[in-house]
């Protein structure tokens, strides 16, 4: 598995396809562009020799929040066929390193309260469930902010 930085618009359709197929929350193209145009250096893709299109993606941002620089993992998706190979884990670690290089002091994200694989992944990397957000998602599910 190889990993590379997001390089531009040609990557966008593949990213949209990966995210749309795996995440419940629908995002318009403007949402993707919001992240990828402003923080292209914080988004990474995973490739395998078997597939010409990426099999995993992570999209992040960073901003100034209450006197500290905070990173945010907006989207993480790995193609179902390639799960349980540590791809998600690696994508998160790569993006965390990139955000740390940028001076980020803390990183947050949200995930569905019953998304056990995501919770397990992030908690193994040291994230904690800071708060619960009631009916955060359009499907009515609660979220944990990690």
């Amino acid at each position: 598995i190889t990993y590379r930085l997001y390089t531009g618009e040609p990557d966008l359709p593949h990213i949209i396809s990966l995210i749309a197929s795996e995440l419940s929350e629908p995002y318009v193209i403007y949402t993707f562009r919001y992240f990828l145009t402003q923080w292209p250096h914080l988004s990474f893709l995973a490739y395998t020799p078997e597939s010409p299109t990426p099999i995993g993606v992570i999209v992040c941002k960073q901003s100034f929040h209450e006197s500290s620089t905070r990173g945010y993992i907006a989207m993480l998706s790995v193609d179902k066929r390639y799960r349980k190979r540590g791809i998600g884990d690696t994508l998160v670690k790569i993006s965390m390193e990139a955000m740390k290089l940028d001076g980020v002091e803390e990183i947050s994200l949200e995930t569905e309260h019953d998304n056990a694989p995501a919770l397990s992944l992030y908690e193994s990397l040291g994230f904690i469930r800071e708060k619960r957000l009631y009916r955060f998602y359009l499907n009515g599910k609660d979220a944990f902010r990690l």
Partner: protein
């Protein structure tokens, strides 16, 4: 512009990006329909069988409960197409020939009188609930959804007119020979149920006026619900024209910006359970409307979340409770805001605020106005906040911890300024009770913040021992303050006063809770591989500082008096972890003394808790809570007692089998996320039965 570049307005935010809609995107553009979906054509005047009308009503009831469960009207109630064509089934405007029954088993009155009346009542019911929610403090798009998509909820139509229409439907059903008796009764109960729901919604606004009538309607509604529950309408054939009465994709044709979402309709049992929760909520509201003890409001507010979180009770009921407590002008519909100040102290320490205020010239004087303002602006949001959804409630309680300290600081400053030479000792002792009263409320909030973390499934497994340990510490301090308050009451507050009674109950309950917490702390530490806490301390410490960041709030530096319970004593925690793990105790007198005092085993702690809980249960002691609230308290005590037994057997059995660590941990069920799985206690795990899944939550 280069490919891939973007122009955005200044301050273009994520919210702006996410609220944009791409025209033609079927996920978000509700008007976009990719494939032709064959839907049976809907003609509101298609004659239907009585059982088909019943089916439609039952389905619409399920959708109504889903709206109350914080879903959109466009995805629930409005999927009933009769909502959009009530005028088309108005018998007063239909041509005469269409009123002729071509099929005697499908009399048109079932639609023009019965279903029309029901649908009108349904819309009016939604209107009344909408009004309450929109003027309340619960959050749109979180606790409920206000979007009406420009569909009428019969806003300008009087409730009496809706009731009259339902009465006409009921009258026709009672006198007609066109409908078999079985279905007459089934439809009558449903119409009666709708009528009662409408009246309950209407009467809620004027509580406690007409309380007797309200109670009667509530009982009648319960009766109707029990009949309806026991006799659900059987499903109709797939080719029945009644199926055309619902369009889950109706949002495509309505003025709404949210994507279509197909709601999975709950089962009939779950629908009836949801209505029962509404009725139980109304019963609480009726009782609260004549409750003028803020301590009761406080306890009821805590209890209603203990038995339901992380799921929230119906937003409508929570909003009613908040509005009832404070509607923007008066407290509990009739009391001035200043009344709260007196109630707070009288109920907590048995002494009126006047006994304090007289030393500064009385209530409302320059010296006291800031204190009184702070009390009012803390108590009102505190009580109302207990009816937020559980996640928001916890965040609110965290913020209130500092607010309580501000009052405490002000009170301490005032007491300190008193001339101690010329004051009666009893009076001075009484004055010193006032800051303690505030400490009791603050400590209860801190305890709730810690314990609600279990209900909301926030804690990592390594955090749980600390949470139990810390709550035991907080309870220890709370007990000391209860003792001090009781001591201060001697000779001042009668022995049979409500405040004493409640303190006695709280004392026993808190010792039991503390014992269970210590037992869990010890048992969990022992379940980890040796030195786990120490090996992972760097990460754990960082997490705990984040988790309990309110305890490190620098805002406390602005106040003169030190807060009771603030910074966490990690050193002591680690020492106790060390002791529990049975490691060599350092040669330190203080430690040895401490070890001797805390030499109970986890089993002994569970036994102590059991004894104390049983002492309350066997004497039916629920403090000052009575009726259903007393039953709820008793239910908590019974649940804790059962949990005590269960966990004690579990941990004792496991340690004797040598069963430790991961196997042990995986058998404990910490999940709270299933609304139908009501745990015995809010804050302790249950033991998975043999064969159930063992994934660690």
């Amino acid at each position: 512009m280069e490919p891939g570049s973007m122009v955005a307005i200044d301050g273009f935010s994520l919210h702006d990006a996410m609220t944009a809609i791409e025209i033609g995107d079927p996920r978000l553009d509700t008007g976009m329909q990719l494939e032709a979906v064959e839907r049976p054509e809907f003609d509101p005047l298609t004659p239907l069988l009585p059982e088909e009308i019943c089916w439609i009503i039952d389905r619409s009831m399920a959708y109504e409960t889903e709206w109350h469960a914080s879903n959109q009207l466009a995805h629930t109630v409005f999927t009933l197409l009769y909502v959009h064509c009530l005028n088309d089934v108005d018998p007063d405007v239909l041509p005469i020939f269409s009123m002729l029954d071509l099929d005697s088993s499908r009399p048109l009155e079932l639609i023009t009188l019965v279903l029309r009346a029901y649908t009108s009542g349904l819309l009016k019911s939604c209107n009344l609930a909408w009004n309450e929610l929109s003027r309340g403090s619960l959050l749109d798009a979180e606790d409920w959804h206000s979007d009406k998509s420009e569909v009428s909820l019969l806003e300008g139509w009087p409730v009496e007119a809706a009731v009259a229409r339902l009465d006409s439907g009921l009258t026709w059903l009672s006198t007609t020979t066109k409908v078999p008796l079985l279905w007459q009764e089934a439809l009558k109960f449903r119409l009666q149920f709708r009528r009662n729901i409408l009246l309950l919604l209407n009467y809620t606004e004027s509580l406690p006026r007409d309380l007797g009538v309200f109670d009667e309607i509530l009982q009648s509604t319960r009766h109707c619900l029990s009949i309806i529950r026991a006799h659900p309408c059987r499903s109709i054939t797939s080719s029945s024209p009644a199926r055309a009465a619902f369009d889950p994709y109706i949002a495509r044709r309505l003025n709404t910006f949210l994507p279509v979402r197909i709601i999975d309709l709950p089962s009939w049992e779950h629908t009836c359970d949801a209505y029962e929760r509404l009725l139980n909520g109304w019963e609480d509201i009726a009782r609260l409307s004549k409750t003028y003890q803020i301590s009761t409001w406080n306890q009821v507010g805590f209890q209603q979340s203990w038995f339901s979180a992380p799921v929230a009770r119906p937003a409508y009921i929570r909003s009613c409770a908040q509005t009832l407590f404070f509607d923007g002008m008066q407290v509990v519909h009739s009391q001035p805001q200043g009344w709260l100040v007196d109630r707070l102290f009288e109920e907590t320490i048995g002494v009126t605020y006047t006994a304090f205020a007289q030393h500064w010239g009385g209530s409302g004087t320059v010296s006291l106005v800031e204190l009184e303002r702070r009390v009012i602006h803390t108590v009102i949001p505190h009580i109302r906040g207990l009816w937020n959804n559980p996640a928001r409630r916890r965040r609110f309680l965290v913020k209130s911890i500092l607010d309580w300290h501000m009052i405490y600081d002000t009170l301490c400053g005032l007491v300190e300024s008193v001339d101690t030479i010329n004051i009666d000792p009893v009076a001075f002792r009484t004055l010193n009770q006032f800051p303690k009263a505030i400490v009791l409320w603050r400590l209860a909030s801190i305890r709730e913040v810690i314990l609600s973390g279990f209900q909301l499934e926030l804690y990592h497994p390594l955090e749980r021992p600390f949470a139990y340990w810390f709550v035991a510490e907080v309870i220890d301090i709370h007990l000391n303050y209860l003792d001090a308050v009781l001591k201060g009451m001697a000779g001042v507050v009668p022995h049979n006063s409500p405040s004493r009674k409640e303190i006695h109950y709280q004392h026993v309950f808190l010792v039991a809770l503390q014992a269970m917490s210590m037992a869990m702390f010890m048992s969990l530490i022992r379940s980890f591989p040796p030195n786990t806490i120490f090996n992972q301390w760097e990460q754990l410490r960082t997490n705990l500082r984040r988790r309990y960041k309110w305890a490190f709030n620098s805002a406390y530096d602005d106040y003169d008096f030190e807060p009771v319970v603030l910074e966490l004593d990690f050193t002591r925690f680690l020492r106790e972890v060390q002791e529990v793990q049975g490691q060599e105790i350092m040669n330190n007198t203080e430690l040895k003394d401490h070890a001797e005092k805390s030499s109970k085993s986890s089993s002994e702690y569970f036994e102590l808790a059991q004894r104390l809980l049983q002492s309350l249960i066997s004497t039916n002691n629920t403090g000052t809570l009575e009726g259903n609230w007393g039953h709820d308290r008793m239910r908590l005590l019974l649940g804790m007692s059962e949990t005590c037994q269960e966990l004690q057997s579990f941990f004792s059995g496991s340690s004797s089998d040598g069963d430790t660590s991961q196997i042990l941990v995986s058998k404990l069920d910490w999940t709270r996320s299933f609304s139908n799985n009501i745990p015995k206690t809010p804050w302790f795990p249950s033991v998975r039965l043999h064969g159930q899944g063992g994934a660690e939550a």
